[in-house]
């Protein structure tokens, strides 16, 4: 990695702010703010999912709708191994299982062009769901499983830990030559291949790496559920939420997906608990359509545009 062009002051300020936020969030359970802990559990979860989704899909433009599949693999890892091993081991098992699944899926499908890939990954969620249903009903005769529960604080700190790892890995990938390779794939895959980038390898590896965090988050969140069956574990909405959050926040900036995740999971929390519960999907759909139509660069893009107007800086030629 090349550190010679790093702007140390800017990096320091960024890092400092991140650390302060991290410490404040980490201290939350200590002050015993229960609602805050459960609210932030979802913030952390969706930040992990949105950021890890962006590692691969945000840069390459291949829209993966398989987040729910890897998340569900994590949930099932917790359901199967949760009783025998301590949580930290199960998290590693879930992460590894997701990595392996994503690696194979990537190896099969990443030769496909954009939209086929999106369809295939969405199909994967439904396929896993159907096959596990079939397996449980007809072959193993175990309908649904119970998961060892963990306290809210344990879940919170585990997610926080995974989040920190996710952010560091995402940052390092963005800074490394793999990040550049991913970006050039996103801009023009053929040109990238001609420049000597092993396009298939880079795509498969980064896809599999991004699945690690989804699987790990699935394991931790499974300990919040008492009962697991394929319908619970492989919920397609878990595939769309991260995509929407990342685009809503803005793919162009490192913190965009994270900001989108926090705002959106807050909106979700307000909508699903309030009087508008029945219209949640309707509002969700409307925001999705409106975001695509009016905020293609996300909130961050909007803010950057406004800031440019105010500060009067020259706009880059489009």
């Amino acid at each position: 990695m090349d550190f010679s062009r790093t702007d140390w002051i800017k990096t320091g300020i960024n890092l400092g702010i991140s650390l302060v936020i991290l410490v404040l969030v980490a201290l939350m359970p200590v002050y015993g703010w229960q609602y805050g802990v459960s609210l932030f559990t979802y913030f952390l979860l969706y930040i992990i999912l949105a950021v890890s989704w962006t590692i691969f899909s945000g840069t390459t433009g291949y829209i993966s709708l398989a987040t729910a599949a890897f998340y569900g693999v994590g949930i099932y890892a917790a359901a199967i191994y949760g009783k025998e091993y301590p949580l930290i081991v199960v998290v590693l098992i879930g992460a590894f299982a997701s990595f392996v699944v994503a690696f194979f899926v990537g190896a099969i499908t990443l030769r496909l062009k954009g939209i086929y890939f999106a369809m295939f990954t969405f199909g994967l969620v439904l396929l896993l769901k159907e096959v596990i249903y079939f397996w449980e009903i007809d072959i193993s005769h175990i309908r649904g499983r119970f998961v060892v529960l963990q306290s809210n604080e344990t879940i919170f700190y585990y997610l926080l830990g995974i989040l920190v790892v996710t952010m560091i890995v995402a940052y390092l990938i963005k800074r490394s030559k793999y990040g550049l390779a991913l970006q050039s794939i996103g801009e023009n895959e053929e040109a990238a291949a001609h420049m000597g980038i092993n396009v298939t390898m880079v795509k498969i590896l980064s896809y599999a790496v991004s699945a690690i965090f989804m699987g790990a988050a699935g394991v931790v969140m499974a300990t919040k559920l008492t009962y697991v069956d394929p319908g619970v574990a492989f919920n397609p909405l878990m595939s769309f939420n991260p995509v929407l959050m990342a685009i809503f926040g803005g793919l162009g900036h490192f913190y965009g997906p994270a900001i989108g995740a926090v705002l959106f999971s807050y909106i979700q929390e307000v909508l699903t608990t309030g009087d508008l519960k029945d219209y949640y999907m309707l509002i969700f759909g409307t925001i999705l359509v409106a975001t695509i139509l009016f905020l293609p660069a996300g909130l961050i893009g909007l803010i950057q545009n406004i800031w440019r107007r105010i500060s009067g800086a020259k706009r880059a030629p489009a």
Binding site: I63, T109, G114, I115, F120, D138, F284, G285, T286, L288
Partner: protein, 287 residues
């Protein structure tokens, strides 16, 4: 032997409806470049409008005359407002496809939620032409035969429309290369919206036919969308005859798998989809 006959004929009958749904999607995806996840929701709406009209004593087969134009108008307007805007804002076709896919997902959530608000999630059904006919010893309901005949008839009429008329020619030109067709004097925004509208109309008609034969509910749409996507891939993107034939093939395969193990029917569609994407992504009729 009787089982085999029942399996194949039953598959061909449901295949007629699959063909109709898939021809609709191949117009929307193959020509208008929108992978319309909400396709099945148009179908569901068609089914429920038929159900509602039937409750008000309208002959279910006559409702096709109402459902088709209604869905066409809805589809046309959706394309002209939503997808045309996205298309004009997108820097290249790849970006348009992924943004349109996400917008279609949004549309799917909106339409389904509206339907669930209106009709709830309980399955509905009504009886129409439910006597049975014997073909070579196997029994089939009259309504399924009528529905399949309707589907095949509409398929053939639409194929002739594409092959013989000026508008059909414009649609075929747009399916090959929309930008170039636009340069050749085809009013491209209008033509693409037309395709999207025809697609929605076919989904609506298919829904009307489904409601005649099977119980319907408000969350059935996605299942048919998935089937249509598999058939469109099978038949070749943008190929109307391909989707027509593909529908029957998938109908037979689906019925055979259901006959053997009902839990694996949906899984078998994905297996076909995966094999196709790996072996022949252009489909059987693709160029």
């Amino acid at each position: 032997m009787e089982d085999l006959l029942r399996m194949v004929l039953g598959g061909l009958l449901i295949g007629g409806i699959y063909s109709l749904v898939s021809m609709g999607l191949t117009l929307q995806y193959g020509v208008a470049r929108v992978l319309n996840i909400a396709h099945g929701e148009f179908l569901m709406f068609g089914a429920f409008i038929t159900f509602w009209l039937q409750q008000n004593h309208v002959n279910p087969l006559l409702t096709v005359v109402i459902v088709a134009p209604l869905m066409f108008i809805v589809g046309f307007i959706v394309y002209r407002t939503l997808f045309t805007t996205i298309r004009l804002k997108s820097p290249n076709p790849g970006v348009f496809e992924s943004n349109a896919l996400l917008a279609a997902f949004g549309l799917y959530f909106i339409v389904q939620n509206i339907a669930v608000r209106i009709w709830g999630t309980t399955p509905r059904s009504f009886a129409y032409l439910s006597g049975s006919v014997s073909i070579g010893g196997a029994l089939f309901n009259e309504n399924r035969l009528v529905a399949a005949a309707f589907a095949i008839g509409i398929g053939i009429i639409f194929y002739l429309f594409l092959a013989r008329t000026r508008t059909g020619k414009a649609i075929r030109a747009a399916s090959q290369d929309a930008t170039t067709a636009g340069l050749m004097g085809v009013n491209i925004n209008y033509t693409l919206a037309l395709c999207f509208g025809f697609g929605a109309a076919m989904a609506g008609v298919a829904g009307a036919l489904i409601s005649v034969c099977y119980p319907i509910n408000t969350v059935m749409g996605l299942g048919y969308t998935v089937i249509a996507i598999v058939v469109v891939t099978l038949g070749g993107l943008g190929s109307i005859p391909g989707s027509f034939i593909g529908g029957f093939i998938l109908g037979v395969i689906g019925t055979a798998v259901t006959f053997w193990e009902p839990g694996l029917a949906v899984a078998s569609y994905y297996v076909i989809f995966i094999i196709l994407l790996l072996v022949r992504p252009k489909g059987i009729m693709g160029k």
